[in-house]
C-alpha cells in the first residue's frame, strides 16, 4: 500500500504542519488528488503535540533526516536540507531527583495515586515519566477566537467533529508595580460585576469598546485620532490606569506604541467573540493544539488524500520551462501539478525572526481557571509575553499538575527572553521546602526557540508554494488566512472548504433504501409472473 502513491497528482504537500494541512484538506475537498508526505514519523511538524517520552525522543534525535550522502548534482533542481534546525537553543531542566532514594514505592501504582498518598517531597522524575502519556506538550500552543477564522472553517467544513474544545475561563494582565495578576473583565456581565474598577471606569471601558466595535460603520468619529498610536488615543479619551491596561494588554493584545488600526481590529475580534461559547473570546483544543493539523489531514484523507509519514523528500525537480514537475522522495519520482512545502524545509527560505518558548510543569496554579491566558506586559521595549496556564481538565497533564506555556517574540534566546516573566510568578521545586510558600513550583522546564522564515518572492517556480510555520501570535487566524490565500492562488475559481450538506439530505446510491426499493420491485414482478 505504501507504494501506491498516485503520480501524477494535483497537489503534493511536503510537511504536515497546520497551514499546509489546511490547504491539503481544502484541495481534497474539491476533488483534487493530494499526496501529503512528511519525513518525520509524526503529524504536525513544528505544530505537533507530544507526550513526555515522545518529547524526549524528538529533542534527543535531531537527525531525523535520511542520510543525504548523494552528491549534489549541479542541476536546476532544488535540494532540500532536512537537517535545518528550526527548533534550537534547547535547554531542558528537571528539578526532581531521578529515583526515589528513600522508599519502596510500588512500581505498579500510577502517579496520581502516589501523589495522594505520599508527601510531595518524594516525587521523582521516573514517576512522572511513568505517566508520560497523560502529558501533552505543544510546540506551538494557540487559542481559537470563538468567532475567528479557525472556528468558522472548522464549522463549515465539519472538521470540528474530529476535535473537542474547552473555554479559556480567565484572562489576566499583570500589575507592573505590584507584580500581581489583574483579572480582565471581558463580557458586559464581568464589567458589571467587577469590584476592581469604579463606575466611571466601567462606563469609559464600555464606551471605548463600543467605539472600537462601531469603528467600521462610523469612521468619521475617529478621523483625527487615526494618525496617532493607540496609547495616545486612549489618553486622549481619559482612559488611564487599570482600564488602560485591560485594553492594551489583554483586549487589543498590543503595546503602547501599537498603531490605532491594528489595535482596533484586535479589539473588534475580541469583543465579537465574547459570549459565543463562554465569557471569554477564546477556546483551547483538548489534548493540545497539535490535534488540529491532524484533523485537517484526516479530512483530506476522507476526501481521497494519500498520506505518507517517514517519507523524506530530497529534491524538487524543475522542468525545462522553469516549472516544478515533481519531487524525489525516498528515491521515488512523484509528479505533481502544484507543490506546497513547509517553509522550514523551503530551500530558498531565510530566517527572518524567531519565537522564544518555554514549557513548565508546575505543582500549583496561579489561577483557579481550567485554562487561563495571562499577558505579561512589555518591559524594556521587549514584546509582551503571553502565558497560558493549563490545568488537567484541558487534557494536557494529570491531576495535581499544571502545564504553563510562555510565548514571546525572540530577542536573544528563550531562556533570557522569558526569565523575568518566569521569575515573577514561579520558583523552582525544592524537596523538603515548605509548601506554604505562595509561588507555584517548577518541576520541569523546557526552553527553546522556533525560527520564523521568509520566502523571498520570485525565487521559486510559480507552481511551488512555501507554507508558513507558526508565528508568535496567540491565535490561528493568520494561518487560516495564509492557507486560504495559497489555495486561492492555486485554484482561483474554487470554494475554500465549502459547507458540508445536511446528513439527512445525503443519499448513498447502493444504499439500503435503494436496495429495498429494488427488491420490492422485483417482488412485484415475480408476483405478476406467478399470476
Amino acid at each position: 500500500m505504501a507504494y501506491d502513491i498516485p503520480s501524477p497528482c494535483d497537489l503534493l504537500v511536503i510537511g504536515t504542519g497546520l497551514t499546509e494541512s489546511i490547504v491539503a484538506s481544502a484541495a481534497s475537498r474539491i476533488g483534487k488528488q493530494v499526496v501529503h508526505v512528511d519525513h518525520r514519523n509524526f503529524y504536525g511538524s513544528n505544530w505537533a503535540t507530544f507526550s513526555f517520552n515522545n518529547l524526549q525522543n524528538i529533542l534527543g534525535s535531531k537527525s531525523l533526516n535520511k542520510d543525504s550522502t548523494k552528491t549534489v548534482e549541479e542541476t536546476q533542481n532544488l535540494n532540500i536540507n532536512l537537517n535545518s534546525n528550526t527548533i534550537c537553543n534547547i535547554v531542558e531542566k528537571w528539578y526532581l531527583p531521578d529515583e526515589d532514594v528513600q522508599g519502596n514505592i510500588d512500581n505498579q501504582k500510577n502517579l496520581e495515586e502516589t501523589i495522594n498518598k505520599v508527601p510531595k517531597e518524594t516525587l521523582t522524575k521516573s514517576e512522572i515519566l511513568r505517566d508520560s502519556r497523560k502529558f501533552n506538550f505543544d510546540l506551538s500552543p494557540k487559542l481559537l477566537y470563538s468567532r475567528g477564522e479557525m472556528v468558522d472553517v472548522l464549522i463549515t467544513s465539519g472538521i470540528c467533529r474530529y476535535a473537542e474544545f474547552k473555554n479559556v475561563s480567565g484572562i489576566y494582565t499583570v500589575d507592573n508595580v505590584k507584580r500581581t495578576l489583574l483579572s480582565v473583565p471581558c463580557s458586559r456581565a464581568d464589567i458589571f460585576n467587577s469590584k476592581d474598577i469604579t463606575m466611571i471606569e466601567k462606563r469609559l471601558l464600555m464606551k471605548m469598546l463600543s467605539m472600537c466595535v462601531e469603528c467600521e460603520t462610523k469612521p468619521e468619529e475617529l478621523k483625527e485620532d487615526e494618525m496617532g498610536n493607540f496609547g495616545n488615543f486612549l489618553n486622549a479619551h481619559k482612559i488611564q490606569g487599570k482600564v488602560k491596561k485591560y485594553l492594551i494588554d489583554a483586549v487589543a493584545m498590543a503595546t503602547d506604541s501599537t498603531n490605532f488600526h491594528d489595535a482596533v481590529k484586535n479589539i473588534q475580534k475580541f469583543v465579537r467573540s465574547i459570549g459565543r461559547y463562554g465569557n471569554t473570546p477564546f477556546l483551547w483544543t483538548l489534548y493540545g493544539s497539535g490535534e488540529l493539523p491532524q484533523c485537517f489531514c484526516r479530512c483530506s484523507a476522507v476526501f481521497g488524500g494519500v498520506y505518507c509519514l517517514n517519507h523524506s523528500t530530497q529534491t524538487i525537480v524543475i522542468g525545462s520551462d522553469g516549472q516544478a514537475t515533481g519531487i524525489v522522495s525516498d528515491n521515488q519520482n512523484l509528479k505533481a501539478k502544484f507543490i506546497l512545502i513547509e517553509d522550514c524545509l523551503n530551500p530558498v527560505a531565510t530566517i527572518k525572526s524567531g519565537i522564544s518558548r518555554a514549557i513548565l510543569v508546575t505543582n500549583k496554579a496561579l489561577t483557579s481557571d481550567q485554562a487561563a491566558l495571562i499577558t505579561f506586559p512589555s518591559v524594556n521595549s521587549k514584546d509582551p509575553v503571553r502565558i497560558l496556564e493549563l490545568s488537567a481538565s484541558t487534557m494536557v497533564c494529570p491531576q495535581g499538575f499544571y502545564v504553563v506555556h510562555l510565548i514571546t517574540h525572540q530577542v536573544t534566546t528563550a531562556v533570557e527572553d522569558l526569565k523575568e516573566a518566569i521569575d515573577t510568578f514561579f520558583t523552582v521545586f525544592e524537596s523538603n521546602k515548605n509548601e506554604a510558600l505562595n509561588k507555584p513550583q517548577i518541576i520541569w522546564s523546557l526552553h527553546f526557540n522556533i525560527n520564523e522564515y521568509n520566502s523571498p518572492a520570485g525565487m521559486l517556480p510559480s507552481n511551488v508554494y512555501s507554507s508558513p510555520g507558526p508565528n508568535s501570535s496567540i491565535d490561528f487566524d493568520d494561518h487560516v488566512i495564509q492557507a486560504r490565500n495559497i489555495f486561492k492562488s492555486m485554484f482561483p475559481d474554487e470554494d475554500f472548504l465549502p459547507r458540508v450538506p445536511d446528513p439527512e439530505d445525503i443519499i448513498l446510491e447502493g444504499s439500503l433504501e435503494d436496495v429495498l426499493e429494488e427488491s420490492k420491485e422485483n417482488h412485484k414482478e415475480a408476483q405478476n409472473i406467478h399470476e
Binding site: F192, K202, R203, M206, G510
Partner: protein, 358 residues
C-alpha cells in the same frame, strides 16, 4: 463499496414534507373523533390518556383535552387512590414535553400546577430545575416566572433563597428585566422599612441603589436598570413620610442626582439619564430647578424625537405644577399680609377707640 453522494433537491425535500403533513392531518382527525366518542360514553381510561397525550404533544393549546385529562385523573384518584402517584408523574412528564414544544402555552403550565395539588407529595427540586431550564432558554417567559412563584409558595422556600436566585441571574445578565422585577417583589417583604411596610429599609435601599448604578454605568441604554432605579427612588411618591424618613430620602435622591449628573457628563446624548435627572430635580426642588429641567426637556426632544409629545407635556406640567406652588405661596403670603395688615388695623382701631374713650 462506497455509495456515491447524492444530495436531495429542494423539490424533493418539499414533497417529503407535504406527505408528512398530510399524514399528520389524518391522524389528528381520527384521534379527535375517538377522544370525543370515548368521552361521550364515559370511558375515561388509560386509552383516552394515551391519545389525548399524543395530540397534545403536537398541539398543547387545546384546552378541552387538558380538561378531559383532569377529569380522568380525578376519576382515578377516586377509584384507585394508590395508583394516583404514577399517573401524576405521567402528567408531569407530558406537561414537561408540551412545555418544550411551546414554552408559552398557558394550558400546559396551568395543568402542571393543577397536577401538583393532586398527588401526595411533590418533588420540588425537580420543579425548580424545570423552571431554571426554561428561564435559561427565555429569561422573559412570564409563564415560567409565574410558575416559579407558585412553587416557591407551595414549597415554602425562603424568600432569601429567591433573592439570591435573582441576584445570580442579574450577575449573569443584568439586562434581565424580569429578574429586577422579581427583586422588587421580594425585597420589601424581606427588608421592610421600619416606618412603612411597603417601602424598603434604608440600608437595603442604599445597597440596591449601588447595585443598579453599576448596571446603569455599564450600559446606560438598558431599560431594565432604569425602571428598577425609578422604582427604588420614586416608589414612595404618594406615601406619607415621617420627617426623618423624608430627610433620608432627600439625601438618597441628592446622592443619586450627583451620580446621574456624572453619567450625564459622560453620555450627553442618552435620553434615559436626562429624563432621570429631570425627575430627580423635580422631586428635590421642582420650583428651584425649573430652568434646568426645561433645558433638559428641550434636549430630550432633540435626542428622542419619537416621544416629543410626551416630553413637551412633561415640561408643561412642570411649569404648571410650579405655577401652582408659586400661586399658593404668594396667595398664602398675601393672606398672611392681609391678616397682619387687617390685624394691625383692628389693633389700631381698638387703640383709637380706647384712646378716644379715655
Amino acid at each position: 463499496m462506497h455509495g456515491r453522494l447524492k444530495v436531495r433537491t429542494t423539490a424533493e425535500q418539499q414533497e417529503i414534507k407535504a406527505k408528512e403533513r398530510a399524514k399528520k392531518m389524518v391522524i389528528y382527525k381520527t384521534a379527535m373523533n375517538l377522544i370525543f366518542s370515548k368521552r361521550k360514553s364515559g370511558e375515561l381510561d388509560d386509552e383516552i390518556l394515551k391519545i389525548t397525550g399524543q395530540v397534545l404533544t403536537e398541539n398543547p393549546d387545546i384546552s378541552t383535552l387538558w380538561n378531559i385529562r383532569k377529569e380522568t385523573i380525578l376519576k382515578i384518584k377516586d377509584a384507585m387512590p394508590d395508583l394516583i402517584d404514577s399517573y401524576i408523574s405521567k402528567e408531569l412528564a407530558l406537561t414537561e414535553q408540551c412545555i418544550r414544544v411551546n414554552p408559552k402555552s398557558y394550558n400546559s403550565w396551568f395543568h402542571r400546577s393543577w397536577v401538583l395539588d393532586q398527588g401526595s407529595s411533590v418533588d420540588f427540586h425537580n420543579e425548580f430545575l424545570l423552571c431554571d431550564k426554561c428561564l435559561e432558554l427565555d429569561e422573559r417567559n412570564f409563564h415560567c416566572w409565574d410558575y416559579r412563584r407558585i412553587i416557591v409558595q407551595k414549597s415554602k422556600t425562603s424568600l432569601e433563597n429567591e433573592l439570591q436566585f435573582s441576584t445570580d441571574k442579574i450577575q449573569k445578565n443584568f439586562s434581565n428585566y424580569s429578574s429586577w422585577h422579581y427583586r422588587s417583589e421580594l425585597l420589601p417583604r424581606i427588608y421592610p422599612s421600619s416606618s412603612d411596610e411597603s417601602l424598603l429599609d434604608d440600608q437595603k435601599l442604599a445597597e440596591e441603589c449601588n447595585l443598579v448604578q453599576n448596571a446603569i454605568f455599564t450600559d446606560p441604554n438598558d431599560q431594565s436598570a432604569w425602571f428598577y432605579q425609578r422604582w427604588l427612588l420614586f416608589n414612595g411618591d404618594e406615601k406619607f413620610r415621617t420627617s426623618s424618613s423624608h430627610s433620608s430620602l432627600l439625601l438618597t435622591l441628592n446622592n443619586e442626582l450627583e451620580s446621574c449628573q456624572q453619567l450625564h457628563d459622560l453620555e450627553p446624548d442618552n435620553k434615559w439619564v436626562k429624563l432621570q435627572v429631570c425627575e430627580l430635580l423635580r422631586r428635590i426642588n421642582g420650583l428651584g430647578n425649573e430652568t434646568e429641567i426645561l433645558q433638559l426637556v428641550q434636549q430630550l426632544i432633540k435626542v428622542d424625537p419619537l416621544r416629543k409629545g410626551y416630553y413637551t407635556y412633561f415640561g408643561n406640567s412642570t411649569i404648571l405644577m410650579n405655577l401652582k406652588k408659586k400661586i399658593k405661596k404668594e396667595f398664602t403670603s398675601l393672606i398672611l399680609n392681609t391678616l397682619i395688615v387687617s390685624g394691625s388695623k383692628i389693633v389700631e382701631e381698638n387703640q383709637e377707640k380706647r384712646t378716644g374713650q379715655s
